[in-house]
Every structure is written in structure tokens, then in C-alpha cells.
Amino acid sequence: MTAIELRNIENYACRGVNLKVFSGELLVLLCPNGAGKTTLLNIIAGLTGYRGSVHFDGRPIDELPTQERKVGYLFQDLVLFPHLDMASNIAYGLRVQRWSNEKIELRVKELLRLFKIEHLAAAYPWHLSGGEKQRVALSRALAPYPKILLLDEPLSSLDWQTSQYLRFELKDLQRQLGITTLYVTHDLTEAKDVADRMAIVLEGRIEQIGRLEDLQTGPWAKQTDQSGIH
């Protein structure tokens, strides 16, 4: 079943994008910097204007504001609120959705345990390492049970070793939760490690989409060297 569908999306960075993401899959948008990948995620989240149509579970959501789209968004620079401790960061989405204090406490504890960051509950962002921040930001995005998870270069700010470890952790978690995920990266190895399917985005267009083995034999494979994807 199709969870997200983009129909002929156009704006300053996208040129006629058509894309289907199936329910529960992890689709990687692989593209060089400046190719419009973050813009695509922002369009799905309702953070930027566009022409065309976005559908969630077959229903158009173009008129819905960001607040009602129920997406979990992990921004490239994580964007943890600096004035809130980690537990409050994770609880933020739950508080605004008026969960009861007991339910918030349970959910926050569950996520802290899931990401093995219980010891960071009272810490502030400036205390944390890149990997810890990344876990907290992901916990925050997942806390209100979003229908869709958008990950914008989630590992780009981490050192190679942490990035290697976390990509598998991310993939395991996504499988475990069964959440439909769009994962943006320009790193081909990272994409191969996490993707169920991949879409190649170049100059605001989807050049090719499919499983890794399909892409390796497609026209894109010949262009890889010139594309800036490595």
C-alpha cells in the first residue's frame, strides 16, 4: 500500500517530482548537495510551498498545515531546543498534543530506554556528543507516534565510526517500528546499508527509483562519477 505519494511536485528546487513510498518501507533519496532533497522533505512536512499534490494513505494533505501532517522530522542539524533538557525535548511534541503527564512520563522513559540514553534525561544539548544528540533528536521525532519519518542526512554530523554503528541501529529500529521512512543522504555506502529502495535525485528530479540491484544496471550507474554522489 502506498503511504506517501508525490504527484508532479514543482517549486524553486523541484521539477515535476513523482514519487511513491510504500507503507513500512525505508526509501533513500540519494543525491548530491543542492539537488533539492531537503526541499522534498520540507514539502512533505508542509514547511515550504509547492505546486502539485502530496497524498498520505491515498488522501491529499496539501491543505493541512505542518502541525496536522503527523510527520516525525529529523533535521540535518538535529535542532534540539537548547533551552530544554533532553526529557523535555522528547516530551515537547507530547505536551503540545496535550497528553497527560503520566502518559508523557511513560513514553519518554520508553524512548530513553529504547535509545539507551536514560542517563541523559536531565542534560542540556550543549552537554551532549553528536551521537547522543542524534539519538535524542530521533526520540523526539518518534515520540508522538508519527505516521511518517523524515530523516535529513541523519548521520552527516557524526564521525565515521559512530555513523557506521548508528546506521544499522537506525535500520533495525525502523524495521522494528514498521514506520514509513524517507531517508536523505548523499553517501552511497550509507544508502546501501539502510535502503529498502533508493531514488536518485538530480537537479530537482527523480532520475531513477528502484532496488539497489536495479539501479546498478540502470543509466544512473554510468553517471555516478559526475553526480557528486560518493
Binding site: 516525525g72 522530522y73 535542532v79 537548547p82 533538557d85 503540545v96 498534543q97 508522538p144
Partner: protein, 258 residues
Amino acid sequence: MKPVGKIRPKWGILPVAIFLAIWEITARLNLVPGHFFFPSFSEVLLEFYEMSVNGILLDNFLSSLTRVLVGFCTGSMAGLAIGILMGWNNILDNAFSPLISLLYPIPALGWLPLLMLWIGINEILPIAIIFICSFFPVCYNTATGIRNVDRKFINAAKTLGASQVRILITVVVPLALPTIFTGLRLEAGMAWRVIIAAEMVAIPTGIGALLMKAESLMRIDIIIVCLMVLSLMCFSFERFFTYIEAKLTHRWTCHDRH
């Protein structure tokens, strides 16, 4: 983590002590010609004590303090409210900005002649001057602070389901606090400077008026007592806001201070 927000004089007190000692010695040894015009620190302290006991200092101080508190609180609250609205809403920003930009550069005392004619010489006059003195800078700093909050925090809050009002209250205003407090801190001291000047020119009571009376009686010791009170109040008000700011923000801004 170090405790913050406390006044920690440490070695800062030493230059002040040296200055007072030099003052005392210079006056006592008559190194400055005309002892009448240069009383020693101990004589000034004695006068301070006598004025405190007979109530003259306290009465005038309370008059000035009340004016500063009422004028500063109302001016700052209005400045905060309008500044937040201007910083958050482009339409309001476009509506108010030209007016604020035109009126902001006028020194608070520049309004005095106009207000004397409009309001007359009564208790409202100094309060109105302090209101104006506080309103424009607090409004300007608040609007700037709100405007400068990084858009990415607003977007993050939106994706988590927060309404515009909720984002303003829970994300934007807290992140703008350091800039807002810069305005409040500076204006808290400025309010005292302005009230003294206004009282010297137009108001018959208060520390500024006492200064002018002392000048006409050639009482240098009283003049110095008044200046010391003014200095202490500017210092205390600025410190008060430094303390409040630190209380509110030190947990998440410690990395900037270390």
C-alpha cells in the same frame, strides 16, 4: 557547573577600596586646595548617616524609587508586549517599525518640555519620562531578539504539532531571552540616570531635586551622597537583571560563558 547570578566581588572590590583610601588621605592631608569643596570620604559617610537618620535622604530616595519602579515597569511591560508582537508578526512589524524608528532616537529628556506642557509638573511627569525612556529600547531589543530566533527551531516545533502561539511562548520567547534581558538591563540603569536629570530640571522632590538644593547651598558632601546613591541604584538595578537572566538561562547558556 559554577553557581551563577551571584555578585562575586572577589578582587573587584580592591580598586574601589584603593580609590576611597586615596580620596580620604588626599582630603585629610589637604592636598587639594579648599577643603570646603573637597570633603573626605568619612565626612561624606557621616553626612550620609545623618541624612538617613533625619529622613531627608530616605524621603527623596523613595520618591525617586517609586517613579523609577512605576515608570520602568509599565514602560518595560509595554515594550515587551509590543516588541514580541512586532518580532513575531510581519504585519505588525511593518505597521509599528517606522514609528518606533522615528521616535527611538529622541533622548528621553528631549520629551521633557513637551510633557511639562502636556501633563504639567506633577507626579505623572517623571513617570511618563521613565516610561518613554524604557519603552523604546526594550521594545526594539525584544523585537530584534524575537526576529533573530533561528527559523529551524520554529520549523522543528511545527513538525511536533505546536500551534503558532505555543511556538511563540515555549520556543521563541525563551530563545530570545538573552537579547531581551540586554535591553532590560541597560534600561534599568538608564532609568535612574534619567530620573535624576528630570528631577534636577523639573521636579521639586527626589534625589535629583536634592542634588540641586545641595548645589544652591554649596553642600558638596550632600551632592556626593546623592551621587553615591545614584551609582548604587544603577549598579543594583543592572545586577538585579543580570541575576534574573542568569537564573532563567544559565542552564542552557553555560557553554557560552565558560
